[in-house]
Amino acid sequence: MVPSNSQSQSQSQNSDPVDASPNTTSGSTHAPQLAGYQCDGFFDEMVDQQTTARPDAELLVDLINRMPPGELLRRQNAIERSLYQMGITFTVYSDEAGTEKIMPFDVVPRTISAMLWQHIDAGLKQRIKALNMFLSDVYGDQNIINDGIIPRDIVESAPSFLPECMGLKPPRDVWCHITGTDLVRDNSGAVYVLEDNLRCPSGVSYVLQNRHVMKRNFPQVFSGSRVRPVNDYPSRLYSMLQAIAPAGVTNPTIAVLTPGVYNSAYYEHSYLAQQMGVELVEGRDLVVKNKHVYMLTTVGLQKVDVIYRRVDDTFIDPKTFRKDSCLGVAGLMDAYRAGNVSLANAPGTGVADDKVVYAYVPAMIKYYLGEEAILANVPTYICQRDEDRKFVLANLDKLVVKAAGESGGYGILIGPHASPEERAEFAEKIRLDPRNYIAQPTLQLSRVPTLANGILEGRHVDLRPYILCSGQDDIWVMPGGLTRVALKKGSLVVNSSQGGGSKDTWVTAEAGQEVAVDWQNE
């Protein structure tokens, strides 16, 4: 290729001394940034108790240690500014002036070694496979109930169990096409599944945008660290949606269904539609005629074949579910039942992420696949069981109690941090409605160095990898995912609605695996 004419030859390549190779002696005399870092006895994802880098984090630790004071903070600010300029914000509703905030972002990435990832990847695939089989079963013959593995009343009393879905057969027997499973590590570094999100898991756009801004701010260290790419997610999502098209439709029209611009995840809906190049529709843009779904366009009605819906189950069709919903499309379920439109995720998937049903997932894996669960559940006490409830009520000061019907970090009691009054209040709630509560031991969540007032301190994290499923044996796990970080010192609550932030997640590639290239080469 002949280079095009340019005005000047003097433009030099942007070289950043900080990102030079790790072998370079930079000759700086300042104290390493991680010098005073304390693990405080917690499991740290980046360094061991002697603050020596873990195997796949050496390059990153080295980079951080060679940065001049203030450099990390400077980059953090630059990234936050660019997120703000890109309009990746959510509106703070309480504020009249419509103040906008970015989701808090921490510049220090969380690293995961190739070996650990292999384990997580296998575990998640196994889990999604079993969950799908469970959904097919529970809305079908209900063998797992009839065989006494999971009590009927637990399934049928789950608010997310939809009797309207009994007998449905989604294409390829896939119910949960898109899953975000929350993982945590405890003090020993062991990985546990905290919960599955099978309805409309959000946050993947932050993963992609975090990676985007990190690549721009830490270009060279990327290739050096052999980070696996995540930016093929929209293409994979698109292919998955294409694969689940109704029978006989070869070139499906795909749309993302959003509740609208006031939904807190609206940015994500619009981002995914844009990245896939498909329509973003609201309920008011759709009509159902003769059991087919159509969009209202400038030239009339146009048929829609596949809908990635980001509207909750009970709002998608006022004719079948909530009569008061204005977010959905009347008759959508008729079109779905007739097989004329595919929905991802299928309606009814929520029953499998009910917090009580969750406790039975290892049993499902055993029942359907004849295997032991690769990833363990956090030990869970089911308050509906008499034994468990007695134990929970006697040990509220040591346990985390969660309401089965809540999400987003609400309806949670963190026993050791709660006041006696709060514990008494929860005890009463549990006695009144035991079905709605589970309890788990308080895990000492792992930590990652995080910028706090310009210095690095350990903060607790979790991880939500995203899993795409287009067939029982066709499951893909995003290498990495959304690392959420509790920004408040000592806090275990990572939800963004409760003051949590996020970090880029770097999974190291094994030999032969694809590596994320830095942004200049894209």
């Binding site: 300029q85 890109m86 309009g87 940015y267 619009s270 973003l280 843009d285 209202l296 400038t298 009339g300």
Partner: protein, 316 residues
């Protein structure tokens, strides 16, 4: 494309163009006040008059002066068509169709909005031409981004129609400033003051240099003709209408029905009139009256768009 998306794109584009033109209004008036002696007619009143929202203004602000008019046109978020209201609405519209825009386009609106928002406090008390210049720069950047980063498909054509209908309307309103300013002082015609005022108006539509190159000297007929009937200058009423006509034609081509829309028929008629009218007749019959008619027709075309495209598929 989705009817809702088409409608939002159209309005987003109109609102962006409106915000830009409000900056042009204010800038030209700031220039006038700097150039002319104090004894001359009030320059701020006409700005309120040409908005057509005279009553609203007087209820809230009373007598127009620099501070109140700048606040009203630029930063008053209670007023439905201030620069800041328009930018906020444009941004909300852009957000609702973000997936159809280029990332650059959305980011530019976003930055533009933040810029004006952040500037409002300092500019209300002490407005500077530099601020309005910046607004103009942001607007030009927006236009460039729209044209060079997006496919010129149906979506772009809806944006183009919105932009050009709005621009045609505002060009006529900028010209109208002179009507309100000039006519009470017919004796000024042809004086240095008059020249200054015409020059300022031409500057407001970025047409000063183009005009000079063609006509060299200020002349009322030539200036009015430049504003209304110039064939190639991109902000003249005629070229705006011609451009909107072209885009509407492209949109019509995608239509599956044989029936032609109301809007395309109306814009054809307007285009015809702007091509055939003579400036002498316009001045003889009253420039302000002619402008009023053009504005009414532009409004009607806007209403027909809703009927032709935005509600087309909605089952009754």
């Amino acid at each position: 494309m989705l009817s809702r998306v088409a409608e939002s794109i159209y309005w987003m584009s109109r609102q962006m163009e409106r915000a830009e033109n409000l900056a042009r209004f204010l800038e030209v008036t700031l220039h006038l006040t700097l150039d002319q002696p104090d004894s001359l007619v009030d320059p701020w009143g006409p700005l309120v008059q040409i908005t057509g929202d005279n009553e609203w203004f007087h209820d809230k602000y009373g007598t127009p002066n620099q501070q109140s008019v700048v606040n009203f046109l630029a930063f008053d978020t209670d007023y439905h068509s201030s620069m800041l209201t328009c930018l906020r609405a444009a941004r909300e519209n852009a957000k609702s169709v973000r997936e159809t825009l280029s990332s650059e386009a959305f980011e530019q609106i976003n930055q533009f909005y933040h810029f004006v928002c952040d500037s409002s406090a300092s500019q209300i008390t002490d407005p500077t031409a530099a601020f309005f210049d910046n607004v103009r720069d942001y607007s030009l950047l927006w236009s460039g981004i729209l044209d060079s980063t997006m496919s010129h498909d149906q979506c772009w054509h809806f944006a183009n129609v919105g932009r050009l209908l709005e621009r045609a309307d505002k060009t006529t309103r900028i010209l109208d400033v002179k009507y309100f300013n000039l006519l009470p002082n017919v004796s000024d015609v042809g004086t240095a003051i008059d020249d200054l005022q015409w020059s300022a108006l031409l500057l407001a539509i970025s047409g000063f240099e183009a005009y000079r190159r063609e006509h060299h000297l200020m002349n009322i007929e030539k200036v009015v003709s430049f504003f209304l009937f110039h064939q190639t200058f991109p902000r003249s009423a005629r070229s705006c209408v011609a451009g909107a006509h072209w885009s509407l034609g492209e949109i019509e081509k995608c239509s599956s029905t044989e029936l032609r829309g109301e809007a395309i028929q109306q814009i054809e008629a307007l285009k015809h009139r702007l091509t055939e009218s003579q400036v002498k007749e316009v001045l003889a019959g009253g420039m302000h009256q002619f402008i009023d008619l053009v504005q009414i027709e532009l409004n009607q075309i806007g209403e027909s768009l809703t009927y032709d495209y935005f509600n087309v598929a909605r089952p009754s």
